[in-house]
Amino acid sequence: MDTEDHRLLEAFRRGEESAFSALVIKYREGVYRIARRMLGNHEDAADVTQEVFIRVHRALVRFDGRSQLYTWLYRITVNLCLDARSRNSRYPMLHDDELLSERAAGPGSEGEAEGRETHRLVARSVAALPPRQRAMVALRVYQDLPYQEIARIMGCSEGTVKATMFAALRKLRRALEEEGVRAP
């Protein structure tokens, strides 16, 4: 386990609540990014991020330290997102309109408008991936995690992660080609 995480974990076990706050500050952005990429909107991602840290607070004392702390944290995040997705599967996933409107807020040029449109199409293509594929893309592309850690988080083999990533990239490539997105 990361030395800093180990130190914070020990401090938390001694009863220092500030150590838990430090862990939250360290990992909240990563948890939020995965949740937002998997759920597609800010509100759900914020709710899941809260829930992740509540559960971590309850269970952190039993964390054995055999894996990285972030592997455990991200596994909780992915599982909560998959649960949330299956609960809300009747409703179509949002395409991060907030993100797009934030980007649209600046002074617009033709190039920026095209960029926004590309982001929208990429977000839509990612949203169309099956949930587990989307989770793997988020962990690999946006969190830069090695295949081995992704396999631990997703509870599958490294080979499965590789095959899934390959399939996901193919699917995204086809979707972007169909939408007419050009190379950057």
């Binding site: 076990r13 809260q50 607070h57 004392v61 090695p146 990239l169 995204l172 997105v181």
Partner: protein, 171 residues
């Protein structure tokens, strides 16, 4: 597509979405130099990964994280088993765990010793024995050496009488 091509594409995906060890990267580059098909595939995979990365930056609403921390603190405060969690945390701390184990061993040892080596408690007086002793005088004890046998006989007889008294379940 050869087996080598498939292997290279696997590594390529790994490379463009994250990082690959330098040795593997050299092997991929060497293969791409000789395989136009994989070069085309590599360009497409890189393009897709670049698009994904570009679209991956999220902006949270202003003031979101301070609000988030406040809400999280409030929720943690409201946790019903907070005291229990703190106690378990305290116990789970290695330093405290050692102390707790030592205290537990000492307490167990003390309880064991107290039970094992405590002086025997005085037995309550036997009602039949008391009844018989009331009938025996000192003179009788001195003059009759076989009084012990006689007492046993009396005692057995009186036990039977006591058994027959209604409401008594035993001697």
């Amino acid at each position: 597509m050869t087996l080598q091509c498939e292997d290279v594409l696997d590594r390529l995906v790994e490379g463009v979405t994250g990082s690959v060890p330098p040795g593997d990267r050299a092997a991929v580059v060497a293969h791409l130099a000789t395989c136009p098909r994989c070069r085309g595939e590599a360009a497409a995979v890189e393009n897709t990964a670049a698009r994904l990365r570009e679209a991956g930056r999220f902006v949270t609403p202003p003031g979101f994280w301070p609000d988030f921390m406040r809400q999280l603190d409030a929720r943690l405060e409201a946790e019903p088993q907070r005291v229990l969690i703190r106690f378990r945390r305290w116990l789970a701390s290695p330093r405290h765990a050692l102390g707790t184990a030592a205290v537990t061993v000492l307490a167990s040892l003390a309880i064991f010793m107290a039970v094992r080596f405590a002086p025997p408690r005085p037995m309550p007086p036997d009602p039949v024995d008391t009844q018989v002793r009331g009938l025996v005088t000192e003179t009788m004890t001195i003059t009759l050496p076989s009084l012990g046998d006689i007492l046993e006989t009396w005692r057995a007889g009186l036990s039977q009488e006591v058994d027959q008294v209604p409401g008594r379940t035993g001697p």
